[in-house]
Amino acid sequence: MTAAPTADNGTPPLEFFLSQLLTGLASASALFLVACGLTIIFGVTRIVNFAHGSFYMLGAYIAYSAITALGGGFFGFWGGVILAALAAGLIGVAMEMTILRRIYHAPELFQLLATFGVVLIVQDVALYLWGPEDLLGPRAPGLTGAVAMGSQRIPEYDIFLILFAPLVLGVLWLLFHRTRFGILVRAATQDRQMVAALGVNQKWLLTGVFFLGAALAGLGGAIQLPKGNAGLTMDLGIIAEVFVVTVVGGMGSILGAYLAALLIALIRVFAVANAGSSLLGIQLWQVELVLIFAVMAVVLVVRPWGLLGKRETLTGHHGAVEPPLLAAPAALKWFALAVLALLVALPGMAGTYSLVIATEILIFALFAASLHFLMGVGGVISFGHAAYFGLGAYGAALMVKHFAWPMEAALFAAPLGGALGALIFGWFCVRLSGVYLAMLTLAFAQIAWAVAFQWIDVTGGDNGILGIWPSSWAATTPAFYGLVLVVVIVMLLAIRRIAFSPFGYALRAGRDSPLRADAIGIDVRRMRWFAFTLAGLFAGVAGGLFAFLKGSVSPDLMGIPLSVDALVMVLLGGVQTLAGPLVGAVTFTALKTELVSLTNYWRLLLGLVIVGLVIAFPQGIAGFVRDRFMAKETRA
């Protein structure tokens, strides 16, 4: 920690530090552009656009193709960059007009999901159009040289990037203060009622805002091209950092986004400049991401609304009132018993492949149920629930690999891993609410992912840990299936029991009316924190089982896509019923398995399904079913 920043080649520390600083500032520019696009869109539409990283990625790809098509050169390069920004803007407009317009009044969670559907769609479209290989970015004509600074050489393009961000900031300032469009956008950001009062113009204002936001993201992707590549992982790669920048800067604040992007650049510099120093045996450069997220956590604890954001009076609930949570009627219990009997008899009837799928479905049912407990009972939306699934899996795998624990013991490490992670991350998360909380959970999941990815000595990095096999008695497919069946059923019953316990009631009380709950002695934040931990524990159990099912673990288990899978499962099944996540896990896993076997472009289809579902059932399938069928019952 305390080692002075030195470089291997004996460069004076200050010069080295300055050159690192400039590199960091240059990299902050693209991040700022993307984040400020996201924050502008959020300010007016209140939609957190997951697909914003996709606009960034498309910007890079389109710029690549356009520059190539225009034959490079000064006009080719800058023409390509501008074309890319415009094209990204138009794609944003298309997304707004075809999808988002239909769901402006849907619950936040559904909006987030729809935009994630777009992420999946864009991934496969990009794969189809540009192929799986990264494309090396062309250099910017006229800016290929470097400027000497002492013994260090600063690339000219870096200097351009450093100046470009404040330039954009200035142009945006003029736009928002000197044009009618900009003044309307500002008014709409400050006062939601304003937007409604605008009447017909409102539609075009929202579309215009989407164009601007998406074009900024596309511009960000295009200008970073000379420093890097266009690749298929750019979208999710940047989105977590963009979330960090917007949340730290304050949602809706452009200047805040700029300051936060600079802050992150500085942390980078610190981490790189201290390369070689270590903290608890971990190289500092390895924990760069962790540092970034740690800073975010601190900012959010001190100023939950961000550096320059406005404190919002956060109402506890959005959308319709939750219906009563009722114990299942007798008929359903018989049905559940029948399903159970079928599950018990399954090994005698199904082949090995089907049994493996069934095992996976059971594990995901538990994973989804743990998330449902947090969301449905606790009213806490997590966008990073895979973190605890992954921590459970790694908890078990690490014990097997480093301490040669047998499966039976390792399976106890799994819930501990999940619960411990959730205990720590949850402490921060429950301080926020709504989309802020959701974004923070996602950011923490990315920390966990980054640690698993970067701490190679312990976690095996990208390759993960292999050779996590069950004990011999559980080694056959039917035997392992039996083990999973027993564990999952016990856990599901426990979750159900807790939902109807005084603790479960207290959680629901905090969800229904935080005001009343507080006024009858319930510490809502503490209840949520415990719920977070419990949900992490159950997700950890699922992760541990999953590790032994697959025989390995990898950072993917903590990735954003798996978190989203769990959300889709919960929403498919419906948030209102305890059986929902089970139905959702079966439907989703079966659907995904089918799609994956059908085509290489399963992401595209899955994305279309998600978007279609959200548009068709903006209140969720269960909400739809309830409104459709239950309405009759209450009337009768």
Binding site: P324, F503, A509
Partner: protein, 255 residues
């Protein structure tokens, strides 16, 4: 007799607006004190400071001698203060009985119990409270479907669940028909007299106020305008001039 509640120099402003300034009063055991004043006078803000939903800018709030200003609502509740809200706050996903059970579970410090069946705890106590407020027949209905007046009764039952020594009732009869108002206030007055609970309440219906309040406290633009027995307040020239004459006091409903 020492005061149950002693408030001194209480102030709160929002931005530039002085919602409550320099308010002082005290409340004796078993006393019903009415806080009246036009909409926007600062009544709800006073309640929010007394129960901890808002932190006062200045001033002390002594509950049985202990300063509770700035404590969280849940702590103040544990010290024996119950509250009903101007805009009712109940748990919509629970039945009427479960709403009361929730308060009882909290009162008996059972909130972290993970495996007990919440619905079968303290049923008798809950039903007794519901009977007290005349809601026993609707015990199994979800709170989300109740009429507004019934919700106010549920809130009263919930507020009584921890045997409070002080009850804060912000417009307990708002949204009710006149007959219902009188009935609910009579019920409240009877319960609190039996149990020796002190009550601070706001109310727009002057008949109700003059019928049940032991003392009245008039708030105007955040300041104490007058204080006294119903008769004294009725005769107070300043009050008459400012309100009773203009009819503003009789303006119905909340904001």
């Amino acid at each position: 007799m020492s005061a149950v509640l002693e408030v001194a120099g209480l102030s709160k402003s929002f931005g530039g607006v002085k919602a409550v300034s320099d308010v002082s009063f005290s409340l004796a055991a078993g006393e019903l004190l009415a806080l009246i004043g036009p909409n926007g006078a600062g009544k709800t803000t006073c309640f929010n400071m007394l129960m901890g939903q808002l932190r006062p800018d200045t001033g002390t709030i002594k509950l049985a001698g202990r300063d509770i200003a700035g404590l969280a609502p849940r702590r103040i509740w544990r010290l024996g203060v119950g509250r009903t809200f101007q805009i009712t706050a109940t748990f919509a996903s629970m039945s009427v009985r479960e709403n009361v059970q929730m308060a009882l579970l909290s009162h008996h410090r059972r909130l972290l119990s993970l495996f007990a069946d919440a619905g079968s705890q303290y049923i008798d106590d809950a039903m007794a409270l519901l009977t007290l407020v005349g809601m026993e027949a609707q015990a199994e209905r979800p709170c989300g479907v109740l009429a507004y007046g019934d919700l106010k009764r549920v809130e009263l039952a919930v507020a009584l669940a921890n045997n409070p020594k002080l009850l804060l009732m912000d417009e307990p009869t708002a949204g009710m028909a006149p007959r219902e108002r009188i009935a609910l206030m009579e019920l409240t007055a009877r319960i609190v007299k039996e149990r020796g609970i002190s009550v601070l309440f706001t109310e727009h219906d002057m008949d109700v106020v003059f019928a049940h309040a032991d003392r009245i406290f008039v708030l105007n633009r955040g300041r104490l305008l007058a204080e006294g027995t119903p008769q004294q307040v009725r005769d107070n020239a300043l009050v008459q001039e400012t309100y009773l004459g203009s009819g503003a006091m009789f303006a119905d409903g909340g904001q």
